[in-house]
């Protein structure tokens, strides 16, 4: 049995999905967290649950909404589980009425009853269920309360849909629906009534579906005739879509009158918080302060001390432990070197940064869960507008701070194709967590006094470069079309410890897993390249294959401050995954006991070259996974190649300016 989970954005569908299937998908408190469909199996194995992006209507505006409409048209579904936000019942019911017209057995989960109660809204679920003709189950999606009942009702409620017509659209429209119904006899499995109404509403997906079955001009004439009849008949109606909306609204008002009671309440806390964080003057400073605190905690106050402890553990007891095991089993020199100089250096060098990365992910999760994310979009909109983007584009960028891949996916919620493409192209400039170990290493070596500030400068540089490029792209490649910015600002919610931890862990485990697989394999490979050379095995590293490869590119990097084969080699591996830069460096500059990589680095880099190197790492190329996502989301080889090439170009130019400019000013 296939059950589709559907509802307005930010009503808790994914929270419920996680609770019903025991899986863990990405949740957050803003509209558009889920941008593609996800499938899970019910805890009691009674069927499959399909989580869909949130929509206000089945007539889509943006790409993530289109996912839902195509799902309804093309894929088999047995039942619908419609989640309603009890505090916004009126607008939620517009979707519900469309779903009921789809004529599949449906079930309603009424979420956020607590929020509604706080606003003085009392809902009679029995009555609502009676009017709509489908079961209504109150749930608390975040905690999982009511989920058992929901599963019970899903598995037991009868398979027969009691088709009940809720909305009578008036004689003219009903006649037209019947005409289309006659045309469609035997041609489709979908409800002809649903198809017809969606068509009248201007749903392009349904239109193209129908034009395969019925001659397009027949539909066109039918719609034009109907529209003129409706507009003539009713004075206040401007279009057919508007008329259908009004008819639904009348029905909804009746439903609400019968099942909902409203009482006066005081101003919600959410609005009091908003008076401060989205304040005219304080909004931007508060955002910057939050970012600053985040970086201080990650790099200075908490993250670095923890990393140091972990580092001590890895270079001390862990290495000694492995040494003694290797000695005990009489391992060959080759195996010994592979494990100590290759794996522990390579993988361990990345794992050391786990504390910092988890702290960063914790803050990103906090941002997502609390409801602040949408406010940031609001606060940033003015700046984004001036470069031809809108505030919503800032959300993918913020997510990109964790990992660029979900950031690029999140761009699906942006309605206009031009802004969406631009956001996809620019998100890789956001400094993702895999780049963070490089900064942590270098600031520890060269900028001890100003760790957080130097790293913050890199993050800000990423944003500034993205904004400048956005302006340039708007003026040249992607000339302006109308921009759209309407954003729903969800009420604040106190993040729960459990869900915060889960979403931090979910993001962080990807990093750990990558260290155990990709970086592990990469470390072995890099170490082999550094161990072997044209003259055989166990060569001096400067004569290894790795050095040969690095030397090919080193002269190019000379003008930007780090023309060594070591830097060149680690940049090449950085295309595979940005963490690989660190593991490569750990292998190349293999550190003898009682010394640290940080100390060793100062033989190879000056502080100015180190900063230039960090800027280069920040900008130079999207990693392999990101490039693949760009290709998947744009569907264009040209734009994927462009995203790689422009990044290389910008990185090189900027580093040239920083390094050569810095030298002119006497910095070293």
């Amino acid at each position: 049995m296939e059950i589709a989970l559907i509802g307005n954005p930010n009503t808790g569908k994914t929270s419920l999905f996680n609770n019903l299937t025991g899986s863990y998908e990405y949740v957050g408190n803003w509209s558009g967290v889920t941008v593609e469909k996800k499938v899970g199996v019910f805890k009691n194995n009674k069927g499959r649950l399909i989580d869909l992006p949130g929509v206000y209507s089945l007539n889509p505006l943006s790409k993530d909404e289109g996912v839902v409409t195509s799902f309804f048209l093309k894929e088999p579904v047995d039942r619908l589980l419609n989640i309603l936000d009890a505090s916004q019942l009126e607008r939620n019911l517009h979707l519900t009425l469309q779903l009921l017209e789809y004529e599949k057995p449906a079930l309603i989960g009424l979420n956020m009853v607590d929020v509604a109660t706080k606003r003085g809204i009392q809902i009679d679920t029995e009555k609502l269920s009676q009017i709509l003709g489908v079961p209504v189950v109150p749930v608390v999606a975040r905690s999982g309360k009511g989920c058992d009942r929901l599963i019970e009702v899903i598995s037991t409620s009868s398979n027969h849909s009691k088709v009940k017509r809720h909305v009578y659209y008036g004689n003219a429209v009903e006649d037209a629906i019947n005409k289309i119904g006659i045309e469609l006899i035997g041609k489709t499995d979908h409800s002809p009534r649903w198809l017809a109404i969606q068509l009248f509403e201007g749903n392009d997906y349904v239109k193209s579906y129908l034009s395969d079955l019925v001659e397009a001009h027949k539909l066109e004439t039918l719609i034009t005739q109907l529209e003129s009849v409706v507009i003539n008949e009713y004075n206040n109606v401007k279009s057919l879509a508007n008329y259908i909306y009004v008819k639904r609204k009348e029905v909804i008002e009746k439903i609400l009158k019968a099942s909902v009671q409203k009482m006066k309440t005081s101003e919600p806390l959410s609005e009091k918080i908003d008076a401060i964080v989205t304040n005219r003057y304080l909004g931007m400073p508060i955002f910057l302060l939050c970012m600053y605190l985040m970086f201080m905690l990650t790099f200075d106050w908490l993250g670095t001390p923890l990393s140091d402890v972990l580092d001590g553990l890895l270079t001390g007891p862990v290495t000694i432990g492995f040494e003694s095991i290797l000695n005990a089993i009489n391992a060959s020199d080759f195996i010994h070197a592979l494990i100590i100089e290759g794996l522990i250096a390579g993988v361990g060098g990345v794992l050391v940064f786990v504390p910092q990365i988890f702290i960063l992910f914790f803050f990103i999760s906090l941002l997502e869960d609390s409801g602040y994310m949408a406010r940031v979009a609001l606060v940033m909109d003015r700046i984004m507008e001036s470069v031809g983007l809108n505030g919503k584009a800032f959300i993918p960028m913020m997510i990109g701070f964790g990992c660029n891949v979900p950031g690029i996916m999140a761009a699906r919620t942006i309605e206009t194709p031009r802004e969406r493409l631009m956001t996809i192209l620019l998100t890789p400039l956001m400094s993702c967590s895999a780049r963070l170990p490089v900064y942590a290493l270098f600031v520890g070596a060269f900028f001890v006094g100003h760790k957080a500030l130097v790293v913050l400068s890199l993050y800000v540089l990423g944003i500034v470069v993205a904004l400048i490029l956005a302006k340039i792209f708007t003026k040249t490649l992607l000339k302006s079309e109308t921009s759209l910015f309407v954003i729903e600002l969800p009420p604040y919610r106190l993040p729960q410890v459990q869900s915060l931890w889960r979403s931090t862990w979910d993001k962080g485990k990807g990093f750990v897993r990558k260290a155990g697989t990709f970086i592990f394999a990469g470390s072995v490979f890099i170490w082999l390249l550094s161990y072997a050379g044209p003259n055989g095995l166990k060569v001096d590293m400067d004569d290894s294959f790795l050095a040969m490869i690095g030397n090919l590119f080193a002269p190019l990097l000379e003008p930007i401050g780090f023309g060594t084969w070591q830097a060149a080699a680690s940049l090449i591996t950085g295309f595979l995954a940005k963490e690989a830069i660190i593991s490569t460096m750990n292998i190349i500059y293999f550190v003898p006991e009682n010394a640290s990589l940080q100390g060793l680095l100062s033989d190879y880099f000056t502080p100015l070259a180190a900063y230039s190197f960090m800027v280069f790492i920040l900008l130079y190329i999207p990693c392999l996974a990101t490039a693949a996502t760009i290709y998947k989301e744009t569907g264009s080889r040209k734009w994927t190649a462009f995203s790689i090439l422009y990044a290389l170009f910008i990185a090189y130019i900027l580093c040239l300016v920083i390094y050569q400019g810095g030298k002119l000013f006497g910095l070293v």
């Binding site: 916004q88 009126e90 909306y245 008076a275 005219r280 606060v379 309605e415 759209l484 309407v486 600002l489």
Partner: protein
């Protein structure tokens, strides 16, 4: 008109048809249309967006679009 509203002032939308089609559709999705009561919650500086509230729902939109919405003060 909406453009002259200050933070905290309330009004009822009388005409929304001058706003762009896409924006109109999104606002309609959120239940904001002719006849809705709206309250200005905050106005961002330098011509930035405004935040309005309607039926307990907060929505951010651009100032220039907000100015195209005709609102009658209540």
């Amino acid at each position: 008109m909406f453009g002259t509203f200050k933070v905290g002032e309330k009004g009822i939308i009388v005409n929304i048809s001058k706003v762009g089609q896409m924006v109109q559709r999104r606002l309609l999705d959120l239940g904001i249309t002719e006849g809705s009561e709206v309250c200005v919650k905050c106005i961002m500086p330098f011509g930035g967006p405004v935040m309005i509230e309607s039926c307990g729902q907060c929505v951010g939109l651009r100032r220039k679009e907000a100015c195209l919405i005709e609102v009658e003060r209540v």
